[in-house]
């Protein structure tokens, strides 16, 4: 995996090689790859001179630092109380139906992953979801269909 090596090297020279750089580097890998592979983690461990288990332990602590392969677009539907009350399940089902995947899965073409997440901070405009970094709020079945369709075309 020479590209991963290159990516990690570049991130380490951008953020530095101290322990404080670990999370920014992991975030950088996520930005490019959508998940942190074991190869990426061993490279990071080598660059920062820490153990691979420490990299793994830190990555798995944070919900956004996925260590499982994810699609190009990671959809995170908020499951916390206000969104749940406003019909989060309808939204999740709509997406599952459209993409033919269940929560936690990735589409065959590696384009979408569907996840549920804890409070996104849009409780007054629920249901809400993130697609990668972008927030979508006041979701309805129609609205979510439209959004996903736009991403399918991307």
């Amino acid at each position: 995996m020479p590209e991963i090596k290159e990516l990690v090297k570049n991130l380490a020279s951008k953020h530095g090689k101290t322990r404080e750089s670990l999370i920014p580097i992991l975030q950088g890998v996520i930005h490019e790859e959508r998940y942190i592979s074991d190869e990426a983690m061993t490279e990071i461990a080598r660059e920062l001179d820490i153990s691979a288990a420490q990299v793994y332990g830190t990555a798995t602590f944070y919900s956004f630092l996925d260590t499982q392969p994810r699609g190009k677009y990671v959809i995170r539907v908020c499951r916390t109380i206000s969104c749940a009350m406003k019909g989060k399940n309808l939204i999740t089902h709509e997406i599952e139906d459209m993409l033919k995947i269940k929560v936690g899965e990735t589409t065959q073409n590696k384009k979408f992953s569907l996840l549920e997440t804890n409070c996104l901070g849009w409780c007054h405009k629920g249901p809400a979801m993130l697609i990668n970094d972008d927030a979508f709020t006041d979701l309805t079945a129609e609205k979510v269909r439209e959004i996903i369709n736009q991403y399918i075309k991307k």
């Binding site: 074991d38 061993t42 461990a45 153990s51 691979a52 288990a53 793994y56 602590f61």
Partner: protein, 596 residues
């Protein structure tokens, strides 16, 4: 003198140094506060919360292990609030724990079990979480078994692996209810940087990390009438075994142990000390040869400093972490493996045995020795040189299983051949011991005189500091070693892999010019090994060390090159140190391993 702080614990006034924790202050008053995640050797975690106490003026119950005392503080350790909380916490831990105690390897030696018994947790009041968990069992390593269903997440192992060993093969992964102790990517311990040192096993309060035991295999060999079972015992076992058999730390039990092994049914009870002495001969000459090549022949390929190779945890550490320095390791096998190779060659020949019928067992203070015996390099006799490795703890179990009342056993002597020991071999068990033994021999070879230290005790290399540098000036050389006249031999000793890393970094960064490095993977050397009786702490390790040096002082022969059996084996079998046969049987090579 630091400032004294006055406080009251359970109404009793006490004055302690500033910065002392409530737990330690209570200890001064002989008030025992139960703990789980706390360990003397490790930094404070404060995560199990078993040690909570009531503190006047505080809404919450602080963890006494983590709370420093303050002036006028009033602490209560045994109130209704404390007892209720403590019971809840133990109960919670039990609900997450696979509590099939009767079939657990740690049954009777488990700190959680002890706490549950002490607090009379009779019926589990909470819902059993074990069926809701997808607990994994990792039984692939020849040294260590990791059973997550027994884990209470105290992180003692994680702190051990990080702080004492700088390995961090174990870490904490995930969060919340999914939080677990994990290797990199949850790979088996066998496939990661784990050095098999077993320090985590020494500190695990439950059965989550235990040695892989070979009790049944060894019993089967003993019971097999076709087999000739030889057993070797490492130096550090004799000063610690008693701890698992109702004796105090620091009691020397060599003679009783030999009797016990004979009563267990081993056909021949022999001493790893014999090959420790042999190691000194081989390694001593290897060092002198490397020095000659470097100083006289100016051979650029010779690797200095030379590092000892007796500690298999250290070997695996360097293979993973500093592979570019593998050439600096002595090529000598460890005493265990030298013994194994000779047991099925020299010993079998002398005793007229079919080597295929010889089963070679070793009793070691070490879990990494189990891995070492499994290495593919360790078959130079044509067979597996050491068939099974038992820890000190496993031997104690066998002694109990056989119904032997250890304390009242008479003493007896090792069998022959390969049962002869010297004081130099005994001290292999303590940090600095290999260095001291090597110097006793090498100095005499080079100068024809004994080392210039009172009673052969090279005290500067002894001690418990993590890294110790000692320079020995060589004067009055015999003609053959004239080139060393006036030379200063720079040596360094480190124990615990965190200290090994310090030494290796200074070598790598060119900040040192050592000739000879002794490294032992475990704190205190083999006396603090991962296979030794539990518990371990600085105090216990000190007592074992004192016992080792007492054993040395009491020996008639204190120098490896004077071991009559060593002299004999060179005469009859090996010819000379570093000779052809030695190379075949007593030396090895190493391999680079991945860093994760």
């Amino acid at each position: 003198m630091s400032k004294k702080i006055n406080l009251k614990i359970d109404g009793i006034p006490v004055a302690v140094d500033e910065g002392t924790t409530i737990l330690k202050a209570a200890k001064q008053l002989n008030i025992h506060i139960p703990t789980l995640c706390y360990h003397d050797d490790l930094c404070i975690a404060g995560n199990c919360r078993v040690c909570v106490v009531e503190m006047k003026g505080s809404r919450t119950l602080p963890a006494s292990c983590a709370m420093p005392v303050s002036e006028g503080m009033e602490v209560m350790t045994n109130t209704l609030k404390v007892r209720t909380a403590r019971k809840h916490i133990i109960d919670l831990l039990l609900s997450e724990h696979n509590a099939k105690c009767t079939t657990c390897y740690k049954n009777g030696k488990c700190e959680l079990q002890e706490l549950a018994a002490e607090n009379k947790i009779s019926t589990a009041s909470f819902i059993d979480l074990v069926p809701h968990k997808n607990y994994q069992m990792d039984a692939y390593s020849p040294s260590i078994i990791k059973d997550d269903s027994k884990c209470i997440r105290c992180q003692r192992c994680v702190r051990t692996c990080e702080e004492l060993q700088h390995v961090s093969a174990l870490g904490v992964a995930y969060k919340g209810d999914k939080m677990k102790i994990s290797t990199f990517f949850e790979n088996p311990m066998f496939e990661v940087v784990c050095t098999n040192c077993g320090q985590c096993v020494n500190r695990c309060p439950t059965g989550a990390l235990v040695e892989r035991n070979y009790l049944e295999e060894v019993w089967a060999a003993i019971y097999d009438p076709d087999k000739h079972v030889v057993v070797q015992t490492a130096p550090a076992v004799r000063v610690a075994l008693g701890e698992d058999l109702n004796l105090e730390p620091g009691v020397i039990v060599t003679g009783k142990m030999v009797t016990a092994l004979k009563r267990l049914g081993f056909d021949s009870v022999l001493d790893t000390d014999f090959t420790a002495d042999l190691t000194i001969m081989e390694e001593g000459f290897e060092l002198l040869t490397r020095l000659k090549k470097a100083l006289v022949d100016k051979d650029p390929s010779v690797k200095l400093p030379m590092a000892t190779s007796c500690s298999p945890g250290w070997i695996k550490f360097i293979e993973h972490t500093y592979p570019e320095y593998l050439g600096n390791l002595s090529t000598c096998k460890s005493p265990q493996q030298m013994f194994g190779a000779l047991a099925k060659t020299y010993y079998a020949q002398k005793r007229k045995l079919d080597p295929s019928k010889v089963v070679s067992i070793s009793i070691m203070p070490c879990t990494a020795k189990k891995f070492e015996a499994d290495r593919p390099e360790m078959r130079s006799s044509g067979y597996k040189d050491v068939d099974y490795v038992l820890t000190t703890r496993e031997l104690a179990i066998m002694i109990k299983q056989a119904g032997l009342e250890f304390a009242s056993l008479p003493e007896s002597h090792y069998d022959s051949i390969m049962g002869e020991s010297t004081g130099a071999a005994v001290i292999f068990g303590a940090t600095g011991g290999v260095m001291e033994a090597a110097l006793r021999t090498a100095y005499e070879v080079v100068t024809g005189r004994e080392v210039p230290f009172n009673g052969l005790n090279i005290t500067p290399v002894r001690g418990m500091e993590g890294v110790r540098e000692v320079t020995i000036k060589i004067e009055g050389t015999v003609p053959e070693w004239k080139f060393l006249e006036g030379a200063e031999l720079k040596t360094v000793i480190a124990h615990g892999l965190t200290n090994a890393k310090k030494v290796m970094d200074s070598v790598r960064d060119g900040k040192s010019n050592y000739h000879f490095i002794e490294i032992m993977a475990c704190p205190g050397g083999c006396i603090g090994g991962g296979g030794q009786p539990i518990p371990t702490n600085a105090e216990i390790r000190k007592k074992r060390t004192e016992a080792i040096f007492a054993e040395d002082s009491g020996m008639k022969i204190r120098k490896s090159h004077e071991n009559p059996e060593v002299i004999a084996i060179y005469k009859e079998f090996l010819e000379k140190p570093l000779g052809h046969k030695s190379h075949e049987l007593l030396h090895t090579h190493y391999k680079e391993r991945a860093r994760h």
